[in-house]
Amino acid sequence: MSIAFASWHDFFAMGGYAFFVWLALALTIIPLLGLVLHTLIQRRAILRSVVRSHAREARMRAAREKEKA
């Protein structure tokens, strides 16, 4: 296995196909990162909503007990 390019400049030039090769790479990595980000944001939102609904139930239970007393 040896390096396919003589210099960094050659590497970035991709034998004249730089635009297409790097475009393809960007169009692979950006959607994947977007999906990871969406998944993490979704997780945070779900955990927050669970915490909120638990807090609400606790408040309602407390209010009911107060009424009874």
């Binding site: 296995m1 040896s2 390096i3 396919a4 390019f5 590497f11 991709m14 034998g15 004249g16 196909y17 297409f20 090769v21 475009l23 393809a24 790479l25 169009l27 692979t28 959607p31 994947l32 977007g34 999906l35 990871v36 969406h38 998944t39 993490l40 979704q42 997780r43 779900i46 955990l47 909503s49 669970v50 915490v51 609904s53 638990h54």
Partner: protein, 245 residues
């Protein structure tokens, strides 16, 4: 074996297993993708006909293979969900759908970026490309149908039926290059026709992309499990535990 399979239907246990999977598969896929892409883009030799533009293969082929593989696994989950009325199988279908859609999108756009320098056009309405586009619409349709229902069972059934009908598209995509004369080249017999110096990094990227799909699907599966189980005590315990840490 059946005991293990039944444990998968227990949401709390499944959530935990998914978490372990995300850690290991995610790490392995990151390592593999970095190594495979550096190898493919910087070390594999240039192609005698296509020059350096062929390096798009390390992005295009794994995504295209996964776009179909993920659909097949969704169909399997849909089948299990419909026959055994398994909620977790329906969730698995919904977890995989966005990941499959993203890989199909990647296969299409990297194909465009490869087609322009090699064929002279970004897009043609030939059989392979059109069938792959239909696959993207099937994914989007399944996602839309899933989110159109508030009731989980109904959503799973509706999306499951669509996914199972759409399976007919898979052989069409696969054989399109043989049945019709297409601009897209026929399938390459990878074992024989690609030189090992180009094949090994390709295999590495294929396996790593597969691991990445599994990681992403498991992450989304965890989210969906939390969503449907949010009123259960184990979720409450989990959040308390997180808060303390």
């Amino acid at each position: 074996m059946w005991k293990t399979a039944h444990q998968l239907a227990n949401p709390a246990r499944l959530y935990q297993l998914c978490g372990v999977g995300v850690l290991w598969l995610g790490g392995a896929s990151m390592l593999g993708l970095t190594a495979g892409w550096i190898w493919g883009f910087g070390f594999a030799p240039a192609d005698s006909l296509q020059g350096d533009s062929y390096r798009i293969i390390y992005l295009h082929v794994p995504a295209a293979m996964l776009s179909m593989g993920i659909y097949a696994s969704m169909a399997l989950a849909a089948f299990i969900g419909l026959v055994w009325q398994s909620n977790m199988a329906n969730l698995a279908l919904a977890a995989m759908a966005p990941v499959g859609a993203v890989f199909t999108f990647i296969a299409l756009v990297t194909g465009c970026a490869w087609g322009k320098p090699m064929w002279g056009t970004w897009w043609v309405w030939d059989a392979r490309l059109t069938a792959e586009l239909v696959l993207l619409f099937l994914y989007l349709g399944a996602i839309a149908l899933w989110s159109a229902f508030d009731d989980l069972r109904l959503a799973g059934r509706a999306a499951g039926i669509l996914v199972l009908i759409g399976v007919v598209n898979l052989p069409i995509i696969h054989y399109s290059v043989e049945w019709w004369s297409t601009l897209h080249q026929g399938s390459t017999n990878m074992q024989q026709n690609i030189d090992p110096s180009m094949r090994t990094p390709l295999r590495l990227t294929i396996v790593s992309n597969l691991l990445l799909f599994m990681t992403l699907a498991l992450m989304r599966m965890r989210n969906l499990i939390l969503l449907v189980e949010k009123r259960r005590p184990w979720v409450k315990a989990l959040i308390l535990q997180r808060g303390r840490r």
